[in-house]
């Protein structure tokens, strides 16, 4: 952006004439010059401060503006690089940080110094971690310990009350005892660490065993039939499934006559004629087929275009002939169609936040059955309908 564009924008923003804006700009620069000539700072609100720095004019942007410009780097703080030294070729060495423009106080640097200062102490603390609270107790019991005796005195050393006096008398001996104390504490720490890792491994193993046991028991219950669903016993399976009425073990003839209304007696007869010669098996087959036949008959009565609606069917299809927002109207139509002998299904469907009440005719096992049945519907239903799944 140059001066001309700036003047245009200022004229647009302030509503002043361009000449006036130019005058104001000149006035601004004159005022800036005079203030700087006096050696004073010139602050422009929302922008920053101009000041003389030697023979040059310095500009310090306002904090708000700096933040706006640096929005991408918001929250980024200086990171301490532990382990980096002056040997690193890319390091910019600041011998006098206070003189550098970027040597403002760095957050976290003070903490770092403390850490550096206490690094040796921390090492010792790490070694004596195994001693835990007993160490503190030991320290309390040794108020007059010599300065050269390390803080990580082992509990067993502390246990004898005569030792502090001896240590006072013989600091050299105490110093000699120091490596032994450290070694033993290290050993304790290692053994504790080892024990912890073994414990965690043991816990993992127990958890794995429990999971495997649950898996096996689950498999035994469900697949081996401990809960009643035996996979190996076909006759039992057939009976149980038939009694539940969910799936039916029909003979091929029955499958072929799926749409026709068969009675239980017919099914039993068919089963008997196609059965085996063995008496025991025949008896079993008879009982099975009779149950199957009843279920089949019940299933046959569930599906169809005409008859009453059965709430037991949840996986069939219906031919929707009315889809209206007025529920009462749908109910009226439902009554009319029921009087006409149709099996009806009413369901609600929300489309674009609007509830539509759908009146379906018949219940069919497959969509093909529904399509076939829809051809037998009277006009206008024959040409104006859609098939949907009953849910």
């Amino acid at each position: 952006m140059n001066r001309k564009k700036l003047v245009d924008l200022l004229a647009e923003k302030t509503g002043l004439e361009k000449a006036e804006v130019e005058d104001q700009l000149v006035l601004f620069m004159d005022q800036l010059k005079s203030e700087l000539a006096k050696g004073e700072d010139f602050k422009v609100s929302g922008l920053g401060t101009f000041s003389m720095e030697g023979d040059d004019i310095a500009f310090l942007a306002e904090e708000k503006l700096s933040t706006e410009v640096n929005f991408k780097y918001a929250g980024m703080k200086p990171i301490e690089l532990i382990g980096a030294y002056k040997e690193t070729p890319h390091i910019a060495i600041d011998s006098s940080p206070a003189k550098e423009p970027d040597s403002e106080p760095v957050p976290g640097v003070e903490e770092y110094t403390e850490e550096m200062d206490t690094a040796a102490e921390e090492e010792q603390v790490n070694i004596t971690e195994a001693a835990g609270q007993e160490e503190e107790k030991g320290n309390e019991e040794l108020p007059e310990r010599p300065a050269n005796v390390p803080e990580d005195v082992k509990p067993e050393t502390v246990e004898t009350p005569q030792e502090p006096a001896e240590e006072q008398k013989k600091p050299d001996e105490a110093a000699k005892a120091k490596p032994a104390v450290k070694t033993s504490s290290k050993k304790d720490f290692r053994s504790k660490r080892k024990k912890e890792s073994t414990d965690s491994l043991r816990k993992l193993l127990v958890a794995a065993v429990v999971i495997i046991a649950i898996g096996i028991s689950g498999w035994m219950f469900y697949d081996l039939g401990y809960l009643g669903g035996s996979a190996g016993n076909e006759s039992g399976n057939s009976v149980s499934e038939s009694s539940v009425g969910q799936k039916f073990s029909t003979v091929p003839e029955q499958q072929a006559n799926n749409g026709s209304n068969k009675t239980a007696a017919d099914t039993v007869t068919n089963k008997e004629t196609t059965g085996t010669d063995k008496t025991s098996e025949q008896d079993e087959s008879n009982s099975t087929s009779s149950i199957t036949g009843i279920a089949e008959a019940s299933r046959q009565s569930v599906y169809g275009l005409r008859g009453g609606a059965s709430p037991r069917v949840e996986d069939g299809y219906t031919i929707v002939v009315h889809s209206l927002r007025d529920e009462n109207k749908v109910r009226r139509l439902n009554e009319e169609l029921q009087q006409a002998g149709y099996r009806t299904v009413i369901s609600g469907a929300t489309v674009m936040d609007t509830t539509f009440w759908r009146l379906g005719l018949g219940q069919f096992k497959t969509i093909d059955d529904a399509k076939k049945a829809s051809q037998s519907l009277p006009d206008p239903y024959k040409s104006n309908h859609f098939i949907k799944r009953i849910q």
Binding site: M29, S45, L47, D55, I57, F59, A61, S66, M76, Y85
Partner: protein, 70 residues
Amino acid sequence: MDQKFLGAFSEILREEITKKNEVSVDGLGVFKPEHKKQYQKQFDDGRVVMMPPKDKITFVADKKLISDSE
């Protein structure tokens, strides 16, 4: 000086600088946002910190303005 003008001047400059645009005003100088990459900084005691990158607003005053201000 008109406060309205001063407010508009400040606002326009802020907008342009925030958009990383350079603003050059004859007789005044050039405002320019300048990107500074991240860099390592080491103190005398050996501490090393990685300074984050930042955009700095630099101002190069017009020579006439400097001479008039002295």
